[in-house]
Symmetry: C2
Subunit: 648 residues, 2 copies
C-alpha cells in the first residue's frame, strides 16, 4: 500500500512548520513580493509596498482657523480694553495697507500682508471700522502651511495596512495613487476521480468538491486571491500539468488531495519531480497526509481530502506563509483556559486537534469537544475554538483544564451552551436568542437527558433539555432533578409536550404497527444511546409490554439524536427507530405514535445573567410557540412555566 | 451667529446616543432589513438572513470509511484468529449472495446487500477468496447517510457571519444559493462652497474633499456600502434635494458638513424640515456640531467638516447603527490601562476625545497624546487608541492612569515609541523595523531632546533622539544623560553627525549669510521650542556671537520639528529658521550651514527585548546608513556605536 516511503515517517508539526519556513526563506520567497498601483481612495485594507511621502503640505496654504478679521499683528500692538484700536475694513481683493484688516471665515486664505486673525467675537464692527481691544500675536489663529503634514514627510509607513484615516491623509497630501502589495495568488487544484463540481452531478460514491470553495474563502480571508482550477482526475500527467501551469501564474499552489499513500495518490510523487518535497506525512490528527514542497521557489502544498483535515492543515501551513508573504502583522491567537466537559482519548505519537465550543457557565469557562470525524463539516461550522492534545498524551480527562485557541472574533462569554437531550426546538431557541441579542450564539451538544443533568450538576452547561420518565410515578423529570441536583442555581422550566413514536420509511413496507413488531425476525431496529430520554421511554414501553430487549435485532446499535435515527431509517440502515414526530416529518418518514412525553429545560444561569430572562421570554412568546408547533407533534401550551427551583 | 437655537444647548454624548437609538427603534428601523439571494460559494463575510436548513444529508449515501471489503455482518460472525472464515470476492456490479464480499475504497458506496466494512489490513486475499479472522459488527466502518448533517437539520443559524467552513457545509448540504442580509447603503453627501473633488482643482482657500473617501472606507469596513454623491454647494435647496433623493435609495444618509451654526450651515434646518432633529450639538470635543435626525424612518446624520471630528462622530453615531442594522455582533472595545506621559488640559462641560499612541515600555503601558487639532489628519493615522476625558474634568496630569480604547487590531505591545528630538532618519528606522518584523510599528512624538531624556527617565519611551550641546565642554549628549539619568536600563547609541544651519527660500532674497543676519529689522525668524537641541545649538551660537535674542524678530515664535520650520519658511510665515539640512532639501529650500552636531539615540528596552538588537543591527546596516545619508547632510560612519551604558 505504501508507495511513498517518506509517508511512513511522519514528522512533528512544529518541525514541519519550521522546516517549511526555513526552506522558503532560503529560496528568498519572502524577500520578494509583487506590487501594483491603485487608487488611494479605493485602497482600504491593502498593504503599502513602500513608505508614502506627502506630495503637498496639509494645509496647503496659510488659512484662518477662526471666523474673524485678518490683521498685520504689529498694527494691533497696544490695543487694550481701556484703549481700543480701530482698523480699516478692506474689501476682499483690495491691496493691504497699514492699519487695514479683512473679514475672513474659517478656512479662508489669509490675505497678503496679514499675519494673524482676531476672533469675530472680540471685534466690534461699525462703519467700515473694526474696533479691537487686545493685541494679536503674530500668526495667532492661523493654520500655517504644513501644520498637519509637511510635503515630503512620511504620511504612511511601509508595509502598513491602509485604514480609512490613511486614505484621508494620503488624499490630503496629494497622493492619488498608491503602490500596494499585490494580493498573493493561490492556485487550488482539486483532484480525485470521485469529485464532482455541482450537486446536480452527485450520485452515490461521488463527492461534491466543497473544499475548493472553503479553501478559496479561507485564502480570501487571509488576504490572498484564490485561483480555482477545474477538477483533475487521479492521473499523474494531468496533475503534473495542472501544477506546472499554476506555478506559472500563481504565488502558491494547493493540490487537494491525492496526498495519502494509496495507489491513486500522485501528489507527493509529482511534487517531488517538480521540486523538493520538504515533508510528506505529519504527525497530526486529523490531517496526517500533508505534502509540503517547494517548486520553482514557490510553496506547493498537498492538503488531505477530508474537509476538517483540509481546513486544519490550511490553517497550520498555508495561513502563516500567506500572511508573511503580504507583510501582514502575524495573527496572535486568542487563548483562554477552559475546563473540558468530557473525556477525550488521543493516540500516542500524533498531535491531535479537536474543535470545541466554549462558554462561560456561571463564571467557569468550559469547552465542549465537537464530533471528531475528519469528514464532520458540522464540527467545523459549530466550533468556537480548538484544543490540541500533545503527541505524548493518550488523552485528557473530563475536568482537565486545557488552553483553547479561539477561532476568529469569537466572544465566548456570549455562547449559550445547551448540553443534554436534543430537540429541534433548541435550534429555533438559538435563532430567537440571536434575534434578541446579536452577540449570542447557542451551541447544542447531544449527550442525552442524564448527560444534561450531570452537565448542570458540574456547572458545565447553561441549558439542558431533559425528558426522563420515572417508571415508578409515570411523572417526567422532577424526581430525577431532585435526586441528582442540589442547591438552587438551577431551575426546571417546561418547554413542550411532544409525541414520541416509531419511524418507518414511507409506505411502511414491513407493516410495523407498534413496539410489539420490533421483535420480528425481519425487522431491524436502530436505538438511541443509554441515558437518553427516548431510550428510557422505549425501555419503559418494552417493560409494560413484557418484551425482552434481547429479542430486538439492532437494539444494541445506538445513535445520538432523533434526526440520526430518522436518517438511519431513511438510509435503510434500519427498518424502524424511535423518536419525535418532528424528526420523522422533517425527513418525510411515516410516524406511528407511541406516547406523549414531557420535554423540559434545566436552566443554569448566574443570578444576574440577562440571558435567563431572554430564554423565558422566548419560551412564552406566541411567535416561538407557533413556530415549534409547526414542526409537528408539539404542544407548547405551558411553555415557559417554571416547574421547580428558580428565582421567580 | 446662532441661527439654530438648539445648537446652543449641547447634549451629553451618552444621552444623544441612547436617544438616537430609542428613536430609531421606535421607528422600527432595526426590525426591518433588506435581503438578497447570492451564491453560497461567494458568501464569505455576509450575514445569513434566515436559518439555513440542509437540502440533502451529508454524507448523502452509505459509504465505506476505510479501504477494505464490504460484507454482510452476519456472514462474519464466528470468525476468529484460530478459526478464520473465507468469503467469496464478488466483482463490482455482481449481485450479492450470502458469504460474498466486495473490495471497496474509502468513500465508495457500500454495495447493496452489505452492511459493514473490514479494513484491508485485516483481510488476506487469495484466489478470489477473502480470509477474515474477526467478526464485523453491523455498520462498522460505514459512514451512514446523515452521519454529519441530516437533511432538513439546521446547517447555519440565522444572522450568522458566514465563514469558509459554513460555505463548505452549505454546499455539501445542497445549498447553492443563500439568503443574506443586504449591505446597508449609506449615502454620503459632501457639502461646502470651499470643497473641491480633486487636488488638481486645489487653490488657496479651497479644501479637498477627503472626508467622503474616509467615511466611505469606514462604512465599508463596518459592512455597509457607501454611495458618495457629488459635492453640493452651501445652498438650502440643493442640500435638501440631495437628502431627499438619497433617502429614496439608501438606508442611511450622512451630510458632511454644514452642521455648525454659521450663516451658511443649513443641514440642521433642512433635516428639521424633512423629519425630526433628535439632537443638534453634542457636548464633545472634537465633533460638537453633529446633527442627529430621523427622516422617513431612516437615520440621517450631519457630521462636522474637520476630518478628525468627522471620523470621531462617525465612530460614535454611525458605526453602531450600521452594525445593528446588519445584525452583526456588537464590537467590544479592547481596553487597556495606560499611564499618560504628558498633561492634557480639557474644557469643563465637554467630553474630550484624544487620540493616543500606546506602547509597553519595560512592562509599563504608556499612552502618548497626539496633536489635538480637529484638522490634524496625522493624529488619525498615527493613533493606536483613544482616551476620553469626562465633561466634569479640567484635564489629566502626566502620570495619570487612564483607560485607553484600542483602535482596531492594534497590538500595543509591539509599538516602539520614539519620544524626543525628531530626525527624519527615525521614519526610516520605523520602516526597517517593520521590514524585520511585520508586527512592529514605530511611533514618533516630538518633544525635543530634554523631553526625550525625561521620557526615558520616567520609563515612558523606548527610544529618545537627542542632540544636546554642552556649552561648557563643547561635547554632545553625554554630560546631560549622566546628569539626568540613573541606573543602567538605558544606553546611549550614536546615530549620525548631521549638519544644522539656516534655511531660506530659494533665491535667498534677503541675502542671509549667517546668524548675525537674524537681528536685521527686515528678517523674520521662526524658532524651535525650548528644550529642543536645535534651540540650544542656536542659543550657543548666539552667545558665541554675542547676539541678544531679544533683538531677533520671531525668536519667540516656536514650532516643534525641523520640517515645521522648513514649512514655515516655505510658506512665508518667516524668512529664516534653523534646522537640519535634510529638512531644507526635502522642501527645496536653500541651506546655510552653521554647525555639525551629534545626533544620538537613548535606547530603553527591557533586557530580553529583541527589539533592542534589531535597532542596533539596523543602525549598523550599510543599507540603512546609505538611505539616511542620501537625505543630505548626514554622516553615519559611527552609527550603532554604544557610547555609554548598555548591555553589550
Amino acid at each position: 500500500m505504501s508507495k511513498n516511503k517518506a509517508y511512513l515517517h511522519c514528522i512533528e508539526r512544529q518541525k514541519a512548520q519550521s522546516l517549511w519556513r526555513q526552506k522558503l526563506q532560503a529560496s528568498k520567497y519572502f524577500d520578494e513580493f509583487l506590487v501594483e498601483t491603485m487608487s488611494a481612495a479605493k485602497s482600504l485594507g491593502r498593504i503599502t509596498a513602500s513608505l508614502i511621502k506627502a506630495k503637498q503640505s496639509v494645509p496647503h496654504y496659510n488659512g484662518s482657523a477662526m471666523d474673524g478679521i485678518a490683521v498685520w499683528a504689529a498694527d494691533t500692538f497696544g490695543a487694550l480694553e481701556t484703549l481700543p484700536k480701530q482698523l480699516n475694513l478692506l474689501s476682499p481683493g483690495q491691496l493691504f495697507r497699514a492699519g487695514g484688516c479683512y473679514l475672513v471665515d474659517t478656512g479662508d486664505l489669509i490675505p497678503e500682508g496679514t499675519n494673524a486673525v482676531i476672533m469675530i467675537e472680540d471685534v466690534h464692527i461699525k462703519d467700515n471700522k473694526a474696533e479691537i481691544v487686545a493685541a494679536a500675536a503674530p500668526w495667532q489663529h492661523v493654520r500655517i502651511i504644513g501644520e498637519d503634514i509637511v510635503a515630503n514627510e512620511m504620511v504612511v509607513s511601509e508595509h502598513k495596512l491602509i485604514t480609512p484615516e490613511d486614505i484621508a491623509a494620503m488624499l490630503a497630501a496629494g497622493i492619488e495613487e498608491v503602490l500596494v502589495i499585490k494580493k498573493p495568488r493561490v492556485a487550488i487544484i482539486p483532484t480525485g476521480d470521485e469529485l464532482v463540481a455541482s450537486s446536480h452531478e452527485l450520485k452515490p460514491g461521488a463527492i461534491l468538491d466543497v473544499n475548493s470553495h472553503m479553501l478559496a474563502a479561507a485564502i480570501e480571508s487571509w488576504g490572498g486571491e484564490a485561483n480555482c482550477s477545474a477538477i483533475i482526475k487521479d492521473q499523474r500527467a494531468a496533475i503534473k500539468e495542472a501544477v506546472v501551469s499554476s506555478l506559472a501564474v500563481c504565488d502558491m499552489v494547493i493540490v487537494n488531495a491525492g496526498t495519502s499513500a494509496g495507489t491513486d495518490d500522485y501528489t507527493a510523487e509529482v511534487l517531488g519531480e517538480l521540486g523538493e518535497v520538504i515533508a510528506h506525512g505529519i504527525a497530526i490528527k486529523p490531517g496526517k497526509p500533508v505534502v509540503l514542497a517547494i517548486c520553482q521557489g514557490k510553496p506547493v502544498i498537498g492538503l488531505p481530502g477530508y474537509p476538517v483535515s483540509a481546513m486544519l492543515t490550511a490553517e497550520l501551513f498555508v495561513r502563516d506563509v500567506l500572511i508573511a508573504r503580504q507583510r501582514l502583522p502575524g495573527i496572535k491567537a486568542k487563548l483562554v483556559e477552559t475546563t473540558l466537559v468530557k473525556q477525550v482519548a488521543s493516540a500516542i505519537g500524533v498531535e491531535e486537534f479537536i474543535r470545541v465550543s466554549v462558554g462561560n457557565v456561571q463564571g467557569k469557562m468550559v469547552c465542549v469537544p465537537q464530533g471528531r470525524g475528519a469528514g464532520m463539516l458540522s464540527s467545523l461550522t459549530k466550533a468556537q475554538g480548538v484544543i490540541s492534545i500533545d503527541a505524548a498524551s493518550a488523552g485528557l480527562n473530563a475536568g482537565a483544564v486545557v488552553t483553547t485557541t479561539l477561532l476568529r472574533q469569537v466572544e465566548p462569554l456570549d455562547t449559550v451552551l445547551a448540553i443534554g437531550s436534543h430537540d429541534l426546538s433548541l435550534d429555533l431557541l438559538g435563532v430567537y436568542l440571536r434575534r434578541a441579542r446579536n452577540n449570542i450564539s447557542l451551541f447544542c451538544a447531544n449527550v442525552g437527558s442524564m448527560g444534561g443533568i450531570m452537565a448542570v450538576r458540574s456547572n458545565e452547561t447553561h441549558i439542558a433539555g431533559i425528558h426522563l420518565l420515572d417508571a415508578g410515578t409515570g411523572e417526567y423529570n422532577l424526581s430525577f432533578v431532585q435526586k441528582y441536583l442540589a442547591g438552587t442555581n438551577w431551575e426546571l422550566v417546561h418547554l413542550a409536550m411532544r409525541q414520541q413514536g416509531l419511524m418507518v420509511k414511507p409506505g411502511n413496507a414491513k407493516n410495523i404497527k407498534g413496539i410489539s413488531d420490533l421483535t420480528r425476525q425481519d425487522v431491524r431496529f436502530i436505538n438511541r444511546q443509554r441515558g437518553s430520554g427516548t431510550r428510557m421511554l422505549l425501555d419503559y414501553e418494552l417493560t409494560k409490554a413484557a418484551i425482552d430487549s434481547f429479542s430486538i435485532a439492532g437494539y444494541e446499535k445506538e445513535v445520538g439524536t432523533h434526526m440520526a435515527v430518522a436518517a438511519s431509517v431513511l438510509a435503510g440502515a434500519a427498518d424502524v427507530g424511535m423518536g419525535v414526530k418532528a424528526a420523522a416529518l422533517a425527513l418525510g418518514l411515516e410516524f406511528i405514535p407511541v406516547a406523549e412525553e414531557q420535554y423540559d429545560l434545566l436552566l443554569n444561569f448566574a443570578a444576574d445573567d440577562e440571558r435567563r430572562e431572554l430564554v423565558l421570554a422566548i419560551l412564552k412568546s406566541p411567535e416561538f410557540q407557533n413556530e415549534v408547533e409547526a414542526l409537528g407533534g408539539y404542544d407548547l401550551k405551558r411553555a415557559g412555566e417554571i416547574l421547580i427551583g428558580g428565582r421567580a
